[in-house]
Amino acid sequence: MDISTKTTAPPAPAEPPAAPLKTTRGATRPGDRIFLGLSRGSGILLLVIMAAIAAFLTYRASLVLSKNDGNFLTTFEWNANNTPPVFGIAVLAFGTVVSSVIAMVIAVPIAVGIALFITHYAPKKIGGAIAYVVDLLAAVPSIVYGLWGALFLVPHLTGFYSWLNDYFGWTHVLEWQGGAPRTLLAVGILLAIMILPIITNVSREVFRQAPLMHQEAALALGATRWEVIRMAVIPFGRSGVISASMLGLGRALGETMAVATVLSPSFEINASLLDPGGGTFAQNIAAKFSEATEQGRDALIASGLVLFVITLVVNGAARAIIARRKEYSGANA
């Protein structure tokens, strides 16, 4: 439409052609109206689903929260099948946050490294092949990571745990009593491996779009490759890396099966990451679900609602950063 008005009437009178166009559009053919209705309807359906998720979870949660004998936020217990039920999410929130933070601390630098490797260090063909493999790895289901984590990673972590205990045990954070290494640190390491592909993929796309002119200008001034990356690539890609990390964080927060297979949960908070202590929201739901009564399920739904809100905030923030960056680079181009 824009093109036709531009070419036919370069000066002011753009309104006369616009008016008849609008009237013809108003009297659309029935097929058009049905099709528009269908497609708009499915768009609205998505909004309805989102609203329904929030509404139904809140409703079921409210049924049990009023009966809760403990404090939902501070109780260190999960006996939701009792009458009256006693349950609280303190331990779950602690475990979820700690394991995700460990995962982020490990995964983000490595993912940025791989992304830079693909875009700026590896020969072009190898870089493409690696990018392809990383794409495929993003598709490996979480239950397979969980199986691998429980049967391969955990037995191989005992050496690492005792090493940490020997050299860093004095911090109390990395103290180990010698139990099976199915603790928050192991979960964090496994989550890091799982979210590597997604962070790598998004960062890679951002680094690839870094303006070539800036990089060449830096090279022409005698910068080394690292200085080019520091001055011309990373400043450009910073917001992209942040949002990629938050997407990864969202995934780590909500990860269920890998945590459920690896972690041996306990309803206490332990200062040491190497000793049992803490669970995660998703893991607790999966573990407690099969023996939960209807009231117990409502309690699990209440904890799921908290997880839903947290991931909503994290993902919304990540998307907002991406959207702002898009506008910015669009104005630039």
Binding site: L46, R60, P109, A139, F160, I193, R225, A286, R319
Partner: protein, 356 residues
Amino acid sequence: MSNATITPQGPAADSLSAARLPRWSPYAIAVGAVAAGCAIGLGAGLDSRIQWGLIAAVLFVLGTFGIATKVEGKRQAKDRVATSVVWVSFILAVVPLVSLIFETVSRGVKVLDVFFLTHSMGVVADYEPGGGIYHAIMGTLEQVGLATVISVPIGLLTAIYLVEYGRGKLAKAVTFFVDVMTGIPSIVAGLFILSFWILILGFSYSGFAGSMALSILMIPVVVRSTEEMLKLVPNELREASLALGVPKWRTILKVVLPTSIGGITTGVMLAIARIAGETAPVLLLVWGNPLINTDPFQGPQSSLPLYIYQQYQNSGGSPAAYDRAWAAALVLIAFIMILNLVARGIARWKAPKTGR
């Protein structure tokens, strides 16, 4: 870019070119670091090879920095360290991923045969050897199929709305919430269907309940990829069709969709690959069933990811169950990888026609 940093070396360095390490120096340092790492590992009696590797990696980075500072100066040294850090991080990441694939394949082939693929767990207790995954394969195919049938029309129509019609607040809201929906944890989608379908409406566990949760996860992926593909269709095609007096809906159905069908197929297949491995909603809604149940609307079913989880969790550590879990994992990964490869193949095969 590599030409810029590695300048050709003459034997006699003049005043214009600074001293340089020879080209083979990174390899020499790497070999030295690995040797030293192994020596330290052996000497200190460390059992885990991972520790040996870590020590070698640290030694490599330190060695590179030290030698390069001495010969070439600080800026070049930093550059070399950055290069080696990037390489090390790449290798560090590849090790677990390769190990994952290797373990799954090597442990999975043990019990994987035709019997395993064509029998259920009906008369086999979880700790005994024998049994198979036929019921799980059927369950996965039916649940994923139903989810696809639900989500593809909704996803396609939403994408069409966003690209062809969408202006104003509604379209913006839909775009934003599609993005947010992509990040919903699968277990939350499962809890939603649980609260709505099972607890409030009073239906029982079934494959269909699982498919509804799966389609909540699948719809945003389909919308996103379809949207990208529709945006690639050149506007000239739409304008030519509209100029001939074809109604807009026919233009979309007969011109826009056929042009982008390759990319849309790819997107749908990738979405299927994503939901085929989802365990959490299936665990909550389909419940699991050792018997063959081919009716997704009636009674509990099983599915491949759920089967893996239950073989791991309920068997009390029996090796036979672990073997079955690995074999099922291998089948699942193979299924997903084949979907991925075919999808990418379609994308590549269709790409030149639209990208001209």
